[in-house]
Structure formats: structure tokens, C-alpha cells
């Protein structure tokens, strides 16, 4: 049995999901030879330390660690003072400066700890540096959950499709936009109405601009460009058009001619814009689904779809990343 001692940084929606999923999958993980032990949880208010393993029910009902934390250590001090092998970083995304996640990841990698994350910011802002740090310290940096949530994309390309040259990737990487466009097309709702509905259902934030103006998708495009296409780009290198100008009439017009309109991110073209997708295309998924078409030289076009966000779904992508570090070899350490 391999014991993996995990520190969790960030205890919001995804952080709670990670705690829950680690608990639920304990036995299954044991069957494949992994003893995944959560030894610390850190948020803004402090840290909950449990050297013998966090008991999920002791903290899951608390929205934050306020009143539960038994230490006031910040993430960096936690990594330096307790015995842990792997850091799960799930603090809020900032694609301009990458903080606080960037600092957490630099600290963790420098101290020789694997990092698994759903936080796009640091990977958009400073991918090269993080990757180099991981390589230098012979640890893994895994971030499947940052692009397309639970939809397997990066691991599919790095493992299953290895040997293929990837010619390009196009996809729907934002469930909020896809939900809004789907509802506008189905119900002939004006944009604002569909947005309000998405907000009421919890699919869109109170300030939706990050999603609907294509910023989130552009961040994902930058991550794919850096990781799959070995480019060195930032958010500003992506040409972005969001969905706020789309009208229900235009969607009806498109539909009559056999098309759906989707917000499509594309690499290595580095564009995000609404595009016409044939209704029969595997990319024409509805609701909050994400989808990606991978264009390869040997395998033709491969399309994957899946839920792009959600507490448990995102935690599931994080769990897969953790398992892949210990089951396979270190992809990072091997890739030159």
C-alpha cells in the first residue's frame, strides 16, 4: 500500500468536493493500493491539521474553517512544517497575477511536493516556471480539472493519444455560456432572460462577465496552448469575443439552416468566439456540457464531452490526477 499524505489549500465549493470524494472513494483507492490521507485543510481563516487523517464529517458541514481550524498557519507554513507528499490547490482563479495559487504552487513544488489543481490562474500566468520547477524537483504538476472539468482532455492527449501529433483542439469550455446559448435557442429567450435563469440555477455568478465575455474560455485556451502545444502564451495573447451580442433571432436563423451557435475556444489559433456548429456534430452539445474535438494526424478527429464544472465533478478530475501520479510514471519528470 502506498501512503499519500495530502494537504488541501482552498476550502470552497471544490475543496468541499475533494474532502467528500476522498472519503467516499477510500475503499476503492485501497483496492488499487493507494492510501490517500488528507492531513491538512487550509483556507483564509486558518488551517485544520489532522496528522492521522481528516475525518470528513468533522468538517464537511462547515462552510469555512472558521471555528474549526486548530492552527493559524498559512499554506506555505503548512507545507514546511508537516509531513505531506501532495498539495491539492483549489483557491480562487486570478488570471492576471495568478495569486494566491501561484505562490502556493511555487512553494509546494520547490519543497518537492506534487501539485494537483483546478485553479487556472497560475497556469495561465506562469506555466513555464511551474513546469520547470516540477521537473527540477522531480514531482508532478497536474491540472486536468482546469480545462473542461471532468471531461478527460489533457490526460487523453498525454497518455492515450501519445504518438499522435495534435493538429488542433476546438471546444466548448464554458458550461455557463453553453447553458445560456442552449436556452436562448430552445426557448427563444433574450440573452438577459437566459442569463438570469442561469444565475438562479447557480450556473452563473452574480458577476457573469468572466464567463460570458469569454475570459474563462480564453484562460483554458492559454493553458492548452502552453501544455499541449508547448507555446508560451498568456491570457492577453488570445483573441476573444464573448456571447453578449448574440440574439435569439440569430440563433433561430442558424437553427433553420442546421446550425447551433456555440462559444468555441481554439488552439493553436488562440481564438475564442461564437461559431456555427452543425447540429449533427458531436461538438453540438447542449445544457452545461463541455465538449472538445481533438484533431490528430494518426487518429483523425476525436471528440469528448462531459460536465465542465460542479463540486463533485471537479473533485473527480482532481482524484484522477492524484491516482495517475502514483499509478503511472511521472509524466512531468519524463517529458523533456
Amino acid at each position: 500500500m502506498t501512503e499519500v499524505r495530502i494537504s488541501l489549500v482552498g476550502y470552497g465549493v471544490v475543496g468541499h468536493g475533494v474532502v467528500e470524494v476522498l472519503e467516499r472513494k477510500r475503499q476503492l483507492m485501497g483496492e488499487i493500493g493507494l492510501d490517500l490521507t488528507l492531513v491538512s485543510v487550509t483556507d483564509h481563516t486558518g488551517t485544520y491539521l489532522a496528522p492521522d487523517g481528516v475525518v470528513a464529517k468533522d468538517i464537511l458541514d462547515h462552510r469555512t474553517l472558521e471555528g474549526v481550524a486548530n492552527s493559524d498557519m498559512a499554506a506555505r507554513e503548512v507545507f514546511g512544517s508537516i509531513d505531506c507528499d501532495l498539495v491539492v490547490e483549489v483557491t480562487p482563479t486570478n488570471i492576471v497575477h495568478g495569486q494566491p495559487g501561484l505562490g502556493h504552487m511555487v512553494d509546494a513544488l520547490s519543497m518537492g511536493k506534487h501539485v494537483v489543481t483546478s485553479n487556472k490562474g497560475p497556469l495561465v500566468v506562469d506555466y513555464r516556471r511551474l513546469k520547470d520547477l516540477a521537473r527540477k524537483n522531480d514531482v508532478a504538476l497536474k491540472f486536468e480539472a482546469t480545462v473542461g472539468g471532468t471531461m478527460p482532455l489533457i490526460s487523453l492527449i498525454e497518455r492515450t493519444l501519445v504518438g499522435n501529433t495534435i493538429l488542433g483542439i476546438r471546444g466548448i469550455f464554458n458550461g455557463t455560456c453553453n447553458y445560456i446559448l442552449t436556452r436562448m435557442a430552445e426557448e427563444k429567450y433574450p440573452y438577459n432572460h437566459a442569463l438570469t435563469e442561469a444565475q438562479e440555477l447557480g450556473y452563473a455568478e452574480a458577476d457573469p462577465s468572466y464567463d460570458v465575455e469569454g475570459v474563462d474560455t480564453a484562460g483554458k485556451v492559454a493553458i492548452l496552448a502552453n501544455s499541449i502545444f508547448d507555446m508560451d502564451v498568456k491570457y492577453g495573447d488570445v483573441e476573444v469575443t464573448g456571447i453578449t451580442g448574440i440574439t435569439p433571432e440569430s440563433l433561430i436563423l442558424a437553427h433553420k439552416r442546421g446550425y447551433a451557435v456555440k462559444l468555441i475556444g481554439e488552439v493553436p489559433a488562440l481564438t475564442v468566439k461564437p461559431m456555427l456548429v452543425p447540429l449533427g456534430s458531436p461538438l453540438a452539445v447542449g445544457s452545461t456540457l463541455n465538449a472538445a474535438a481533438i484533431y490528430t494526424d494518426l487518429s483523425g478527429t476525436i471528440t469528448v464531452t462531459g460536465l465542465g464544472a460542479g463540486r463533485i465533478e471537479t473533485a473527480s478530475a482532481i482524484l484522477s490526477d492524484i491516482v495517475s501520479i502514483y499509478r503511472g510514471n511521472h509524466v512531468d519528470a519524463q517529458r523533456s
Binding site: 493538429l167 488542433g168 483542439i169 476546438r170 469575443t241 451580442g245 448574440i246 440574439t247 433571432e249 440569430s250 433561430i252 436563423l253 442558424a254 433553420k256 439552416r257 446550425y259 451557435v261 456555440k262 468555441i264 481554439e266 493553436p268 489559433a269 468566439k273 461564437p274 461559431m275 456555427l276 456548429v277 452543425p278 456534430s281 461538438l283 484533431y295 478527429t301
Partner: protein, 168 residues
């Protein structure tokens, strides 16, 4: 009648003039010349596509003269619109002179708008237009699209292009 000719010529100065002269002599009205300098053939020649209005009966004479001038005629005949693309425009499509938008494509000679439908929800509200554009080839489609994109930037219209048009 509108004709198109695919020519190949050597990569040296003056060649294009040698090719266009016989066309003018035969009262051909040249609509467009696409000089594919970037697509040199293995023979080292440069492909050129000329689209012109001319009486078809003069075609054989023109071909003879071109060959005499050392220009290879690969194909000549009625112009065919072989490629097609659909696009959606959203915004104040009508107010920003839709006629002009269409004209900018049609006046290229190598592309034209063959289908157009409009949706106008109400005065002052953004309208949308569905356009089908045909052109003589894939490159011409791309050229027509870049013209359309430019026009739409000026007119502040959103251009929604089909995903299948240029797969990576």
C-alpha cells in the same frame, strides 16, 4: 460570359503583363487576378488565376497567343463557383447598409452572395442575417471571408463563422 483561366508562368518580371495583354487585345474585361506567388509549382512556375468577362468564341485565340508568349494554360472555361460557406451576421446589419456589405463580396468577381435571409425583431434592436457565399475555390473563400470580417469590424457587426470551414 464570365470565364476563368488557370495559368502558369515563370517567376520573372514582366510575365504577368505578357499574360494579360492577349486578354486585353481580345476585349476581355479582367475582373480579378490571383497571383499565387506563395504556391510555386515543382516546375518552378507560379500559378495565376484570371477571371474575366469575354466572348467565349475568343477563347481559343487567346489561348494560342498566351502559349506563344510562353504562358502555360492549365485550364480555361466558364467560371465555376466550387466552394461555399455560410455565415451569420449579428448587429445592426440592415442599418449599416446591408447592400454595401453584399456588394463588397460580389464585386470581388471571385465570390458572390447566393443566399440571404434576414431577421429583424424590431426597430433599434439588433437584426441578424444569414449569408451563403460561393467562390471559385478555397483560397477565394478565405479571401472573401477576410473582406467580410474587415467590413464587419467597420460596421460593428458580429461575424459568426462555421466551424467546419477550416479544420486544423
Amino acid at each position: 460570359m464570365r470565364l476563368s483561366m488557370d495559368l502558369e508562368m515563370e517567376d520573372k518580371p514582366g510575365q504577368l503583363l505578357m499574360a494579360l495583354e492577349p486578354l486585353r487585345e481580345q476585349k476581355g474585361n479582367i475582373i480579378s487576378v490571383l497571383h499565387h506567388r506563395d504556391k510555386k509549382t515543382p516546375r518552378g512556375t507560379i500559378p495565376v488565376r484570371v477571371i474575366l468577362e469575354m466572348d467565349r468564341s475568343r477563347l481559343e485565340t487567346v489561348k494560342g497567343q498566351l502559349q506563344a508568349n510562353g504562358i502555360m494554360v492549365v485550364r480555361a472555361g466558364e467560371e465555376r463557383f466550387l466552394e461555399e460557406i455560410t455565415v451569420l451576421l449579428v448587429g445592426h446589419v440592415l442599418d449599416r447598409d446591408l447592400g454595401d456589405t453584399v456588394h463588397q463580396i460580389d464585386s470581388t468577381g471571385f465570390a458572390e452572395v447566393v443566399d440571404l435571409s434576414l431577421s429583424m425583431p424590431g426597430i433599434d434592436e439588433p437584426s441578424s442575417a444569414y449569408l451563403r457565399i460561393r467562390a471559385t475555390g478555397k483560397d477565394e473563400i478565405q479571401k472573401a471571408m477576410s473582406i467580410l470580417r474587415q467590413v464587419c469590424v467597420q460596421k460593428d457587426l458580429l461575424v459568426i463563422e462555421p466551424i467546419e470551414a477550416d479544420e486544423p
